[in-house]
Amino acid sequence: MGVEIEEVARTIKRPDLVQMYYYLRLTRTLEDRITALYRQGRIVGGVYTSNGMEAVAVGYASALEPDDIIAPYHRDMGAFLVRGITPGEVVAQYLGKRTGPTKGKDGNVHIGDLKRGIIGFVSHLADNYPVATGAALSFRLRGEPRVVVTNTGDGGTSRGDFHEAMNFASVRKLPVVFFCNNNQYAYSTPLNLQMAIPNVVDRAKAYAIPGEIVDGNDVAAVHLAAKRAVQRARSGEGPTFIECKTMRMHGHSEHDSAKYVPRELLEEWKKRDPILKAEQWLTRLGYGDETLFREVEERVKKEVEAGVEFAEQSPLPEGPEVLDGVFAD
């Protein structure tokens, strides 16, 4: 599950790790800011954060080429940002503004944008698994060396669509990488009431898909596992399943205080915070120190504030716009 410093030093260059650290910070700061807006009553819908799990999305998204595609789930804010969605667009989406990626048609993390290689998420968990498989199928049909990465939570792996997609992708050796964010709880349901197996990765065995367990709080570990899987997919060897062990540090959404989670468990995971962990790597590798950390912190704060300002000044859609876009021309 863990990675050795030699491997990280050999495979991740300084600018890449610094950039991953920047996206971890940007994700945390942006989502914290959105949570604060929610508590001030300035957001109309729900808020779903990736607090404590930022390393998964940042790790896999930064392992991709620009032509590749992601089909994320609702705790993948870091992947949206790596793909070029701006903090301003994210806040605009949360506020239902016309400048959000769905122009007010959908809210919060339901962000999709094919120009930036993002397949939009639907609330029905694991629905993106078959869709990602289909995108991978199109690359296989056209002989394009492109890869698709999709993600869902541990709860989502109980859905039929999860299994249907894994089976199909494996039978046809499609260039798709299946991620699972095992964050211990599906809403309030703990893992042991979700499945009778200790590790989600065991589910991949039934489909002859190679599986791997990764420390989901370690951006370097996630990134390296994603790189290997993406390489495997690109070279025609088929899908890989990667289970990221992590912990959801907030409720399912901000209206959920998550009282069902033992406090000691949260305290334990807090010590393994992904941002802290990335700082440890940067320090140990000699890539950066406190000065760098403060610089990045200041930079993302400014970017997030600019984003909030952009979003708040953006117009709301007009009511009749509800009628637009049901069909494509």
Partner: protein
């Protein structure tokens, strides 16, 4: 120039579907087929027989038994620029893919602008002793879901032209092909490429007295009724909707404004079906010109039964249309 022999060739409804698929696959390499048993076996109804030899096993893709996975995959491929055509084997099994169709395929364009140019071929309808799971008319389930186009051809000409239009459309289209018609009706088709535009109804038989608004296999039931009523001096107009969404309201309204009387006929269960919507639209838009109640003829609100006398009772028949027409004529 085509020879007379070519121009005169007669094809069945099933062959018309096969021709549309073949021609679209030859015309556009983005078009590919996926579904259960469609490869060497040629599909449950042998519509794709020989296709895999011609187009290879990636463009005619035999899939695992996995309707939601298949439709989800088609959605993903469609968003990436392909033109997938899914075969649902029996329309009944579409229930397994309901979530992907209504929640993903139907909504992606509205939510974030991603077009999903996908066709789902759904062999539907009864009269073939298929029982509760091989005879359903599930169009009503989707009629209520914005973002989908629904078509249901009744003739070989429409079957071919609507399938071509569906494949070329940039939206998810569910193509309800009626199993009862597969080998029972034939027509001479044009040799040149043509499409039947989605969203256009067709007056299959002009008439002055009563409009029968229908689609699918029931078009033939309506035509049979119309034929028998000529002896009584009653002249039925048969409007074939062809497209359920978008619905060609103009053609429906024009017909009813002309005849002043309307029968709405479909094979699906009565409650909450397409016919209920048509009747409500007529009540809203054509009330002033109606000379009698809008009558609905549909299957009872039961699952499709298996045994012959039960299925006979279940399916609407020409006699039902005749009786309704006589009742309306008295107003």
């Amino acid at each position: 120039m085509t020879t007379t022999a070519q121009a005169q060739r007669e094809v069945t409804y099933l062959e018309a579907i096969r021709e549309a698929l073949d021609e679209e696959m030859a015309r556009d390499e983005r078009v590919f087929l996926l579904g259960e048993d469609i490869g060497p076996y040629g599909g449950a109804f042998r519509i794709t027989e020989g296709f895999q030899d011609k187009y290879g096993d990636w463009r005619v893709l035999d899939t695992p038994l996995s309707e939601s996975g298949i439709v989800g995959a088609a959605i993903g491929a469609a968003m990436m620029g392909m033109r997938p055509v899914v075969e649902m084997q029996f329309a009944d099994f579409i229930s397994c893919a309901f979530d992907q169709i209504t929640e993903v395929g139907a909504k992606n364009h509205y939510r974030w602008g991603a077009a999903v140019p996908m066709v789902i071929r759904a062999p539907f309808g009864g009269g073939v002793h298929g029982g509760p799971f091989h005879s359903e008319c599930p169009e009503g389930w989707f009629f209520h879901s914005p973002g989908l186009k629904l078509v249901a051809p009744s003739t070989p000409y429409d079957a071919k032209g609507l399938l071509k239009a569906a494949i070329r459309d940039n939206n998810p289209v569910i193509y309800f092909e009626h199993k009862f018609l597969y080998r029972r009706i034939k027509a001479v088709l044009p040799t040149e490429d043509y499409v039947v535009p989605i969203g256009t109804a067709d007056v299959k038989r002009p008439g002055r007295d009563i409009s029968v608004i229908t689609y699918g296999a029931m078009v033939h039931v309506a035509l049979e009724a119309a034929e028998s009523l000529t002896q009584e001096g009653l002249d039925l107009e048969v409007v074939d909707l062809r497209s359920l969404i978008p619905l060609d309201k103009q053609t429906i309204f024009e017909s009813v404004k002309k005849t002043s009387k309307a029968i709405v006929l479909h094979e699906d269960n009565k409650t909450g079906g397409v016919g209920a919507e048509v009747a409500a639209l007529l009540a809203e838009e054509c009330f002033d010109c109606l000379d009698g109640p809008i009558l609905r003829i549909a299957a009872p609100d039961t699952p499709v039964p298996f045994s012959t006398p039960l299925e006979e009772f279940f399916l609407p028949k020409a006699g039902d249309v005749v009786a309704a027409a006589r009742k309306l004529a008295a107003y």
